[in-house]
Symmetry: C2
């Protein structure tokens, strides 16, 4: 089936460890390698070593002992049960439990990953890549299943919509974390059909800045975000991972300030006071301020230069100078962003989180802020600075004319004395910008993600071959890693060496892309209502391209679990909220398609702008509340599943309890028989005199029959107007 037979088999390998010995001295590397192999064997894993590229050893791992594997499965499931992710304690006899609740490939790989990385006292081998004495361990990765990958890509590229079963399949193979990304993108893609249609209609018939489009788009944002919130929870039940995010996966890098013993459990607790962490987190505030200023300055000055050159300046070299801002933006901005991201990472490290989830959340928040600035600031500048205040501010761009003077042949070209009165705002600028961000940038992005890395990798391979050839010519041949390969394994090992050099896949980046895209839709699509249509097309391709990317460009990801898309949901909610503000402001500012004769929008009134924002924002909040309430009422397969599990357990428990009670003799009857004898009756009356008041109180009537008799007497003897009472009742 596969062209290349090496792709058809994984040789039963579960994981491959890349052990790069060249970064430490030989003796140390050898000793560490030996220790690693011993530990892996102790954790029940079989190993084989082969040569790797660039002074590394490849350690192939497969499960050698079922006892260890089963024990690890049991421990993983028991942990889930303790944290409430599973409703019942897993059977201690794992083999039989597996028949009921089979192991998916994702769970299997996750469990084996646990055997490699978990501490030894928890039954693992305690290998932690890159960290401490395991710095030589470069990667721990599973091999791609090329047969499956091929089918996967083939299937997806021939069907229009992904079914829930397709997503289940991803979950079974890649784990819930990646499956959640695909599920989210698929949901988002399906939902996009509606605003795409409405947008196309608005574009054709209502023009730009239509209030109707703005209202429908905002409403759609609310519904989508709330629906996904619901869907996410439902999927987490469907996939049995609800509550997984609350399970602390401890970070190895966490450095406690001190450790104490819990007085009750006796457990040693690693403590880093929350107060200290809050103080360290506070550093994010100056960081964000600096980031805003730095990125803002670059973006604003590029913007100002561009406006000056394209709309004011008419001197020489204009056709070349026009590209100046683009050059600055495409070189300085990514460099600065990269630098800031590094700082953000350092800050997040410094915040010293105890669990991976907290770390990821904090890092995501910072990434979101940085992306927010670079993605939306240019549009905000055009909408809320250039358009309303352009005719006031642009004349100050005068400062640039000093710089341009050397190029100008005569004063006239700079038009200094004139432009302050003649300058006109270019109403198409905002639209052009939006089109750039929603179409051009999306295509460029896709290319950067899939096409460029492919050529890069091909180039790198060619370069290596050439280097080796040259070295051979120079008489100092670098020994190829493949030289010692056992016969029949050459192709397979070549393939593994290739996979070892692929990139690490981080789902957060792909999620970020979708969230940023959603932001353009929620905040600015009223400028150009075709944006959702462009996104719809883009995302159909994006979904498939990401699948291809994971299969071809990336090492096979460890199938981590997740019960949501994490903090990105908050980001979506926040963006939709902001959208209610920007959309209404844009509609007001450009109302009536309306730029006045002097290029500024006609008659902007502060109070009217603020009132429309105030109104729109509160309408948004009210709608969100209503929609959230309505959606929470919808019954879903996930909830039904939960309810059923509960009903079955409950019924069993109740039935058992009822049966136990029924075995006891009914106490009423016992006593009744006694009362039948009038002899005993007399004895009782006698004994009553000697009893305590309480005993006497409870002995007046024996059993319910006697109580009923006395009760009847009370009712019969009582004199009252039955009719009037009944009438009262009816009133």
């Amino acid at each position: 089936m596969a062209k290349n037979p090496a792709l058809a088999t994984n040789m039963g390998v579960d994981y491959v460890i890349v052990f790069r010995y060249a970064i430490t001295d030989k003796a140390q590397a050898e000793q560490r390698l030996e220790e690693m192999l011993e530990r892996l064997s102790g954790a029940g894993l079989a190993t084989e070593v082969r040569k790797g590229n660039d002074h590394s050893v490849l350690v192939f791992i497969k499960v050698g002992s079922d006892e260890h594997m089963n024990a690890e499965i049991y421990r993983s499931r028991a942990k889930d049960w303790i944290h409430g992710v599973r409703s019942a304690e897993p059977a201690k006899d794992t083999e039989s439990a597996l028949e009921e609740d089979p192991l998916t490939e994702a769970e299997r790989l996750r469990v084996i990953h646990g055997l490699i990385t978990h501490p030894r006292d928890e039954g693992g081998a305690g290998i932690t890549p890159h960290k401490g004495k395991w710095e030589n361990v470069e990667h721990v990765f599973a091999l791609h299943d090329h047969n499956y990958n091929k089918e996967w890509i083939k299937k997806w590229s021939t069907q229009y919509l992904l079914t829930p079963e397709d997503l289940d399949e991803i979950r079974n193979r890649m784990g819930e974390k990646i499956a959640f990304y695909f599920a989210f993108t698929q949901s988002y893609f399906t939902f996009l059909a509606f605003p795409a249609g409405v947008g196309a209609f608005a574009w054709a018939f209502l023009g730009y800045f239509s209030i109707w489009y703005a209202i429908i788009a905002s409403l759609w944002c609310v519904v989508f975000v709330e629906w996904w919130n619901h869907q996410e929870r439902d999927l987490s039940v469907r996939w049995g991972v609800k509550g997984v995010s609350a399970m602390d996966q401890k970070r190895r890098e966490f450095q406690p300030e001190h450790s104490t013993q819990d007085p009750i459990t006796g457990e040693t607790m690693q403590i880093f006071p929350a107060k200290n962490r809050v103080m360290r987190q506070a550093l994010s505030i100056p960081f964000i301020i600096i980031a805003v200023i730095a990125l803002g300055t670059i973006i604003t000055s590029c913007f100002a230069i561009e406006v000056f050159i394209s709309e004011v300046y008419s001197g020489p070299l204009k056709s070349l100078l026009v590209f100046l801002p683009t050059v600055i933006l495409t070189t300085a901005l990514p460099a600065l962003s990269g630098m800031l991201t590094t700082v953000a990472q350092k800050l997040t490290d410094f915040e010293n989180y105890e669990t991976e989830a907290q770390y990821e959340r904090s890092m995501t928040a910072k990434t979101f802020v940085l992306n927010f600035i670079t993605s939306y600031l240019p549009l905000c500048l055009t909408s809320f600075v250039y358009v309303p205040f352009g005719s006031i501010l642009v004349p100050y761009l005068d400062v640039f004319s000093v710089t341009c003077k050397p190029f100008a042949e005569n004063e006239k070209q700079l038009q200094c004395p004139k432009y302050s009165s003649e300058f006109e705002i270019n109403p198409a600028r905002l639209r052009k910008q939006v089109i750039y961000f929603t179409v051009t940038a999306q295509i460029v992005n896709l290319a950067m993600e899939v096409v460029v890395p492919y050529f890069k990798r091909q180039g790198l391979m060619k370069y290596k071959e050439m280097k080796q050839d040259r070295a051979a010519k120079n008489g100092a041949p670098v020994p190829s890693a493949a030289a010692d390969d056992p016969e029949g394994e050459t192709d397979f090992l070549a393939r593994v060496r290739n996979e070892a050099e692929l990139e690490h896949y981080d789902v957060q980046g792909d999620l970020k892309e979708m969230v940023v895209q959603f932001g353009y839709l929620a905040m600015f699509s009223v400028v150009w209502p075709l944006a959702p249509l462009s996104f719809l097309i883009n995302n159909w391709i994006e979904l498939r391209a990401d699948a291809v990317k994971i299969c071809i460009e990336m090492r096979r990801p460890v199938p981590w679990r997740a019960d949501s898309i994490g903090p990105w949901l908050n980001a979506l909610s926040f963006i939709a909220w902001l959208g209610s503000i920007t959309m209404s402001a844009l509609v007001y500012l450009f109302s009536n398609d309306g730029l006045g004769p002097d290029g500024t929008p006609s008659e902007i009134k502060g109070w009217a702008l603020l009132l429309s924002i105030f109104f729109s924002e509160h309408l948004y909040l009210l709608t969100r509340w209503l929609v959230a309430t309505a959606i929470s009422k919808i019954d879903s397969p996930g909830r039904q599943k939960e309810r059923r599990a509960m009903t079955l357990t409950r019924r069993k428990v109740m039935k058992e309890s009822m049966e136990r009670t029924r075995m006891a003799p009914p106490p009423g009857e016992k006593v009744d028989e006694v009362t039948r004898s009038s002899l005993e009756e007399d004895a009782r009356q006698g004994s009553l005199r000697n009893a305590s008041p309480v005993e006497r109180f409870w002995d007046r009537q024996r059993g319910w029959k006697e109580a009923a008799k006395i009760g009847r007497l009370f009712i019969e003897r009582d004199v009252y107007d039955e009719k009037s009472s009944q009438e009262k009742k009816e009133l």
Copy 2:
């Protein structure tokens, strides 16, 4: 100890049922009484009947069979366990379980209440007061423990602060629902000390409408609400009721549209489609609109009349007419409110909820809206209509002068031609109103709650005695209920008959009062900063008065459970949010203590007002997020308790699993021994040729020792510049 010996003993009675036979005909009543007694006996309860007041039978109940009681305890605890409220399955042998986890009085009473009211197939007697064939069952109530009550009130009235142990005691006696009310009021009371101090300081030194007071008060509101949110969760863990609110206590009144069988569990499901319910809930919207209009009209017209009479009119009878609005408000408003509450109840019934919790939530929401209008509309009118627009609107009050004409002696008294120019806004009006709501109304309320009912009840008793005396004189003596009392029980029965006539205690009303009070603080206290001080004093008394009220004025409440103060938390949050709007608006409108010369506040600018509201509101939202995040980081006894339970379970499970694995022989060693023999080595090499590629792949190195040997060889043989690699690493 007790003056009255009848108060010292409850005769071992757990519950008393008031069976009012006079509302149905005698035969039916007798038959029902008999069935009830039989069922109670079947559920393991012992009964005694005595005569009650006004044609009723008192049925005394105590636990007769430990088997039934223990089974019910087990079922109650098992249900908790299934719903995740308890972490472990309760022991089936309840008697031994009770030693570990003793029964509090509240749990005991709740469980017995369950024996009386739960359906028969779940082990109860199935008696549902007022409903269906049990319409004769008027109340099911426990007797007050007068010894405890006396101590309780004595203790509370002599200590300044309630300790957590005092609250635990309330929880053990009265159940968590009531305990949560006291815990909330206590927290609120403690927190009030801070704004009371700041308010007094602001009042003395900063004057009214101080922006500093407004900021501090808003900040305090945020912190208090978020803190309580945290505290509430912590208490629910401390009291072991976390998640109780999610347990469906089915409503008997629920009417399913149809019922189906669940295909998997086979259970009959009563279905009322969510769509239908949403449509019925939509009726709340016109209801609220009508309520706003109706209440608004009364309040607004009274307000207008008052302004007209006190500030415009100067004709005859002014001193009398001044009271007209008060008379209208105190007669029409409560009547209308009562009517609207009845309608709200009918609407909520119509919404046909499946569970008590949903019903209560919906009803609370409606009550909150009604109370919101009556409590805050008058102040809103003064602040946001009378002050900014007074000089424009008041002249239109002219219409009243037509009504007043008959009383006026001459045209001059109506001042019609003059007041439009001379009218001056009364700046003290708002302050007076706030003082009325925060001081006078609170005192009146307290009196209405505690003092008035006491005298009412005394009066009623006197009236009944007089009626009986008169009837006796007329020769038709109404037989007293006490006539047939067995000797020695007269006092006790008289007391029980009294308690049966007390009111039902509903904790929602008391909570509502506190929330409304919080609203005055959050929204209007900047008008008169002494308000928090007044609340501080009021609430010290309120806490004790409520204790007295429960002990003396009310039947002993059934100790229901709850894990929060329910929807009131949302109400608090909503009010604090609104507060950020009203406070900033008030500060801006009255800035500079500033009424202009014409009586209107000087220079109100629409955009400035809106901008300050916008700014303040978003600052509020940001602060709330920050405070919520910070508070969620605080460790608390409740969380520690949860964590410990988890650690202990986990450690036990892990230890067992590790021991099971250790019993299996380590697989590495086994294989190693084989490799030692070189004879076998040869055999292996031979067999490799016939094996599959996969087998050959995994058989190249037997055991980790051989793999390590090969690995060492790779490293030793490799030629590379060790130093440069290490330098690279250090970079």
